[in-house]
Subunit: 361 residues, 4 copies
Amino acid sequence: MSNTLGKRFTVTSFGESHGHLVGVVVDGCPAGLALIESDIQPELARRKSGKPASTTRLEDDRAQILSGTHNGYTTGAPLTMVVWNKDIDSSPYGQAPTIPRPGHADYSAYIKFGGFADHRGGGRFSGRITAGFVMAGAVAKKLLSLSGIEIIAHTAELGGIESRAASMDEILSSRKNELCCADMQALPKMLEALQEARQAGDSLGGIIEAIAIGVPTGLGEPVFDNLDGDMSKALFAIPAVKGVEFGAGFSVARLKGSQNNDPFLPVQGGVACSSNNAGGINGGISNGMPITVRAAIKPTPSIGIVQDSVKLDSLEPVKLGVKGRHDTCIVPRAVVVVEAMVAITLADFALRANFIPGVIK
Amino acid sequence: MSNTLGKRFTVTSFGESHGHLVGVVVDGCPAGLALIESDIQPELARRKSGKPASTTRLEDDRAQILSGTHNGYTTGAPLTMVVWNKDIDSSPYGQAPTIPRPGHADYSAYIKFGGFADHRGGGRFSGRITAGFVMAGAVAKKLLSLSGIEIIAHTAELGGIESRAASMDEILSSRKNELCCADMQALPKMLEALQEARQAGDSLGGIIEAIAIGVPTGLGEPVFDNLDGDMSKALFAIPAVKGVEFGAGFSVARLKGSQNNDPFLPVQGGVACSSNNAGGINGGISNGMPITVRAAIKPTPSIGIVQDSVKLDSLEPVKLGVKGRHDTCIVPRAVVVVEAMVAITLADFALRANFIPGVIK
Amino acid sequence: MSNTLGKRFTVTSFGESHGHLVGVVVDGCPAGLALIESDIQPELARRKSGKPASTTRLEDDRAQILSGTHNGYTTGAPLTMVVWNKDIDSSPYGQAPTIPRPGHADYSAYIKFGGFADHRGGGRFSGRITAGFVMAGAVAKKLLSLSGIEIIAHTAELGGIESRAASMDEILSSRKNELCCADMQALPKMLEALQEARQAGDSLGGIIEAIAIGVPTGLGEPVFDNLDGDMSKALFAIPAVKGVEFGAGFSVARLKGSQNNDPFLPVQGGVACSSNNAGGINGGISNGMPITVRAAIKPTPSIGIVQDSVKLDSLEPVKLGVKGRHDTCIVPRAVVVVEAMVAITLADFALRANFIPGVIK
Amino acid sequence: MSNTLGKRFTVTSFGESHGHLVGVVVDGCPAGLALIESDIQPELARRKSGKPASTTRLEDDRAQILSGTHNGYTTGAPLTMVVWNKDIDSSPYGQAPTIPRPGHADYSAYIKFGGFADHRGGGRFSGRITAGFVMAGAVAKKLLSLSGIEIIAHTAELGGIESRAASMDEILSSRKNELCCADMQALPKMLEALQEARQAGDSLGGIIEAIAIGVPTGLGEPVFDNLDGDMSKALFAIPAVKGVEFGAGFSVARLKGSQNNDPFLPVQGGVACSSNNAGGINGGISNGMPITVRAAIKPTPSIGIVQDSVKLDSLEPVKLGVKGRHDTCIVPRAVVVVEAMVAITLADFALRANFIPGVIK
């Protein structure tokens, strides 16, 4: 079940970049959730192409719910949601997989699947697969929202330019621009960096930060099904993620315990922390503070600049400039995907903890 | 099954810090592996206390195999391996869990388990649980070694001091010192930092890097059971890990595609990369290069310095200095634990890919 | 993941009787299997309506492969296979689920899903869901066939009339008649019983027996993932199955050990049994003899004869005659479904045991 | 994870008949359940030897809880429960596994595990493994009992002699005699049959029926994780079970729909059925009626009567009379094991449906 994620709110992914469709089966969504295509479409729109950094492939992605709802409500049966592939141009992929593209899964997949993998447009390894994640995420978000949990992600860094935004208001404002950047000073610099990279036939990476608020204390399971462990696994399913950190993350390495520990203090009938270096998670279990998580996104591997590769049949060296239509930087489009993976994970654990009921009334 | 990790080589963890024992059931280990306690003991010894940074709790941990072997070979039945708890001093834990220790899981666990969790010594959240991981890791390593896969981890950073070691020879030498540091220049500085922190009643964090060599191309499953995703999940099971990155990790955010992509080149009948920013993983699948992964370890939350907390019964603020016997920095002891989690993950995927046979002959 | 079966060859079911479609995602099928729709269509045809005992709903079911193949071969990616619903007449279902039909899941589902379940045509509980099982079974059979494993099921009993067929030749001949009956003496009696029941507005049950030959010794896992345990679970997924037995089955209760034990004897370089009361399974693991399994199929619960039920809103008693188009006996159509569930189980275990390779060459 | 059963209340089995111990790890038991050894011991006592039909191996089995409780309550951590092996006599097993015993798993295991399986006393295939099941079942029963669910099993048939008992009072009385027989007329005949078989060096089979009352409507998941499917799988984990049926079971094959359907009728604020041919399960989901399930138990394969076997090394035929200490019929001792498997399954589904809370208060 390598294409299924989760235990209670499970997402099974299927489809290929240049096949008929991409989609998901979501199993475990409670009955009684009002759900129609227009609940999903806006999320898909957030990952669509047409952004400054994105491919010219014009994906007019329309979410279609094929099963699991009746009269506009979920039934408790598996939700099948798909996006049909339309604007496919497989012509540039004729040469692959005989010459693996550096930074892509071509070579690994070629060996693993004995040459049978569908390599067109990256096949199963394409970022297009994440359209399915986003649809599942839309369902998860709607479920979580009913229980007061909201998730927002934004571009924390792009092409080496950091967003210095910190307040929740700023971060919410990131949805208003196409780079999902919450720092108005950084925004033009990011746009400029993208422009430069595109002209050079190169690509850029970045960091996406997600924040989940309203998460109750007690989500996450010791010792292996940690909230951080499972969220991390979900995030690594996004092609291009090379690192995941929570709260203070890698900077904990340079903190003392007295600096890093989040002191507890009493708040209106409960307990909170006066800092959030833990990113809302202690011992793998949510502690009631906002969950904060950051994912490192590598630069798009498909670049026009010529690179070294190898002909797989003759094992001769070869120079390769990747053709096709590609994103200069996927960070802006991946923001909604990061939100989706965080939401899917939280929905799974909220259901495990009975924080979301089995039937929505 | 929140206490079970993996699909083919599965590890079920049980036990508490101050209960009878800690242990694991390893299910899925092939029959025919020569295995006796002395195969496991040296690994346990590597995580034992007595190191410069460690607790004064004297754990004379002896691995005991309770099931799954016969005549010195694994039988294909579940391997049960335990360490009995002996030098237990639960007296300092009397007050908890009424006052949660900052940085610990006390509060999260108190809410989640309704006050029933065994809080003594951290209970299920104690680093002591990792003794079980190490025993499972010892089995995984022996299995992998038969197939030519070797894993080594070392202290890449401690208390803000980086190890600059880079060559495999240097890294192998890290096993010779108690801090597992491969950089002889950094070693004395790390020792000094530890000494200072201990005297101040404070604690330190760091980064552990693991390298796996001999990993064949093709381990890992798209799209969710990625090698990186599952390894990350395994590493987050170590208490104190706050971030995980592969290859160039978070630095990919500042690289261009032309810098980050690892070019392919032909090598003696096969294909390799001339750099390893991917950390040996493309698209979630190993590409034949060494797997490199880094885990951020937070400073030990138990510190003598007084911190703010809350009385859970009255919700009054309270000052807390954590008593008990604690490590100033767990990094040196956690090195073997990181190796174990990497090994467990690789064994799981090597079995899934039939790279390790069902019966060892 | 209540809609997913298996560990290595997993089947995720989706769809409803009167929704857009029914289908499956098969995850874990090795790459390199030649597979096109015409490999699946004949199996679907075997379960189609139009048989003597069947509904007048005219299902011109066409299998469609939506993902997982490329150039006529499986790629190792999830196989999505669907049948679109066409000849839907939901009019008779207007009154439900307010009045549960005896013998159906209406009442259980109403309570479980809070009234949100799609009740039209039984929704998720419809026998129509098994069209998906049959498509997955077609893939499993093709995989198994490459390794020399063949499965055949037949009508062992229908309406109280037993098939006395015993030889493999006879049983193979069952595919030639629409009742899948291997006993030419019993066949006309079965047809007569069906005719009578239909005229009376009643329905009939029966027993289906499946035989798998060519199964190697060693499939099945102790102690929980038994070959019999998992096959039994797979068979109970067929609506209407009320009992499952292997080999001598329930008759073992009246046998002595000396009668029931299957003696071993040497055969051409190996070992076989001179009887097969075990149905090819000892200790949950195949022993090299044919797997024989029988499933008890209850009479179709939808009958025209008036029955007692209850109005769910007012809790008043009510008389109910079930309208709609129904099978008098589903046994003949379920024969291929039983084969499918046996095949799916065997494919799962054959992959676990590496008896089927990860890539077909 | 072939040695782990369940999804929410999971049981991981370990240990061997002639090794150190047999035991289980139960993961998913809610925190706050009062649990000490004496809650478990009486259940173990019910499966102990010393009954008329049983082995002379004297197992003074004492349950020991090694983890998961604190101050007499479950903590939410994994429960490890073991029975240490004491009265071991491995001498008769010297010759095995070179000569497989008919009716046993010796041959299957020999092939599967390449000769490395621990064959002494059947190793992992021994009925002794069920001591672990019984301990897990004791926990499950206590959990269920708090929610008003009670389970009782009895000997429905032994050596061809049927128990005609039908009333709940009679069935409850079965606990008073060592054969667990509810029919006082049948009891002496069963004892006589056992006596005869024992003298002849032969063995007997039978049928065990279990009834669960108080089960709410709505346990069980469509379409694969059926209550019947998973209960069946759990029961097939008992060595010797060759068939499982619910309600009318195999007799449905000879019933008409009008006979087999259970009419609904209104009862004090709810709905019930006026018959229970469905055994309390419709569409895989409980319908509020008692769950009734029957398991066919084969005669003990170990018999003194000489049987045909094969020398595995030379493939020569050989005569074998099984020595060692064996049960003439395991039915009376297996009654509590059947109860355990039913309880484990129901606890799993009751937790999935939130019918049992995550913390017991």
